[in-house]
Amino acid sequence: MKNLKVLWTTMTLQMKNSFVRPMFRFCLLANPLVNTILLYEMFINSGQINFINYVILGAGLMGIWSCICFSSAGDINRERWYGTLSIIYTAPADFRLVIIGKILGNTILSLITFAVSFAAARLFFKGNFYAPQAYQFLISFISMILSFAVIAIFLAYLLTLSRKTTLYMNLIEYPVILVCGFVFPVDILPNWVQKISFSLPPTWAVKLLRMSVAGEVEASIFLDTFYKLVFITGIYVIIVILLYKIINKQVRKLGTLEMQ
């Protein structure tokens, strides 16, 4: 119960803190809006049936990923800048729980990008989102949220090891959008790039989402992709646990917790 309270308080506080930042507001509101217009204009003559589904999903995913890049990934470092990192690190509440709360808060708030993208498609292009397999879409969507949260925690920990967080935050946005196939299938990428794609949880989450809006998809193929997503995400969870142990040891030994 106490842990849930920590999680809830951190989530709500993080949502408020994130929303007041102009960059986060851009990622949350403006980014999906402009990406919906761009993707719609690019796909309008593609001849693809239901292309509006991919436009809404693509713009929403690009938005949520931008939110992760420019907020979640740098959250630990931001606390360092605020001067509050040492306080939350040594507080009785588990530091890992605080980080999970922050990331979940951000990720849940980032879901607004899908609403913006949907509203923009509806308002400007009279486009409608249609998921023929509703239960598959629901599973895919929840899986996507969880896998994005895991990769965000992974990045937040990883970027803590560097003092150049801002630089790396800027460098990971487009490569992941490209490699994970947010707006086009990864199958069209060269083989060597696909190997990188398949090692990242968002690739499988996006694949699952695209399947759920594509129409008739065999349950076995859907399940196979789902298990792969669970497996890859599981690996990242293990890496996150190990990373925390390394960082915990390092900051105590070297006293670098507040080093900027």
């Binding site: 102009p22 403006a30 402009v34 761009l38 690019m42 003559n45 630089l167 490209l178 086009f184």
Partner: protein, 259 residues
Amino acid sequence: MKRFINQAWLSFKIRYAAISFEEFLLLESLYPLITLAFYCILAAYSFNTNNLAKWVVGNSFLLCTNICIFALGSAFDEERYTGRIRSIIISPVSKLLIVLEKGFFPAIISVITVFFGFMIGSLIFNVDFTSINLWLFLFVIIVGMFSMTGFSLFLSSFGLITDSMHFILNLVANILIIFSGANFPITQLPQTLQVISKIIPLTRSIESANMLFGGYDTYKFVWLLLEEMLVGIIFYVISYFVIKIAEKTAKKNATLELF
């Protein structure tokens, strides 16, 4: 002039002081190339085409946004964060000169980035650039960057009166992606929105650079470049006045050090 160059070099060095040469290359070469590759692959998929010349040209021009929009546009914003903004405002030196100093080396880097971005992009996506006049292409880039620098100067002035520069600059960068005609023909847009394409820089330089790939009307080509230069000059003139107005407003509303 010596002072101008010294100050320009100092501003340039400050921007990259905290990063190593490898990181500089990553930020200014590899990342822009990945961005270019993303839009070209997206175009190949959505337009069902293998001829990506238009997208390589258009998106290589957009590579300058990283430097022009974000480096130059945040000129006053960065000064605020480093605590120098008050000294700059009260000094008798022209504020426009300060922004020009900050934009001098980024503009040169932009020209290099766009040119090499185009060359490497062409090699990756099999665009035959041997048939075009590369000197003329370079000239088009210089004209485009001149116009973009004026536009970025105009944007930088907002840094004096708002704390939301990240929002503004990112939004403008996205507007350029949509309305410059780099990724889809601007004729696809509604007539009212096409006005935006006409008032922003790069639209004409991208169009004229694309013309080099086919038989082109010299009169139209020259006219587009003249228009692009005019857009740049207009933005330089507007910037001069907007910076003065923003400076006064910032003093009046005490927003100089607003975070």
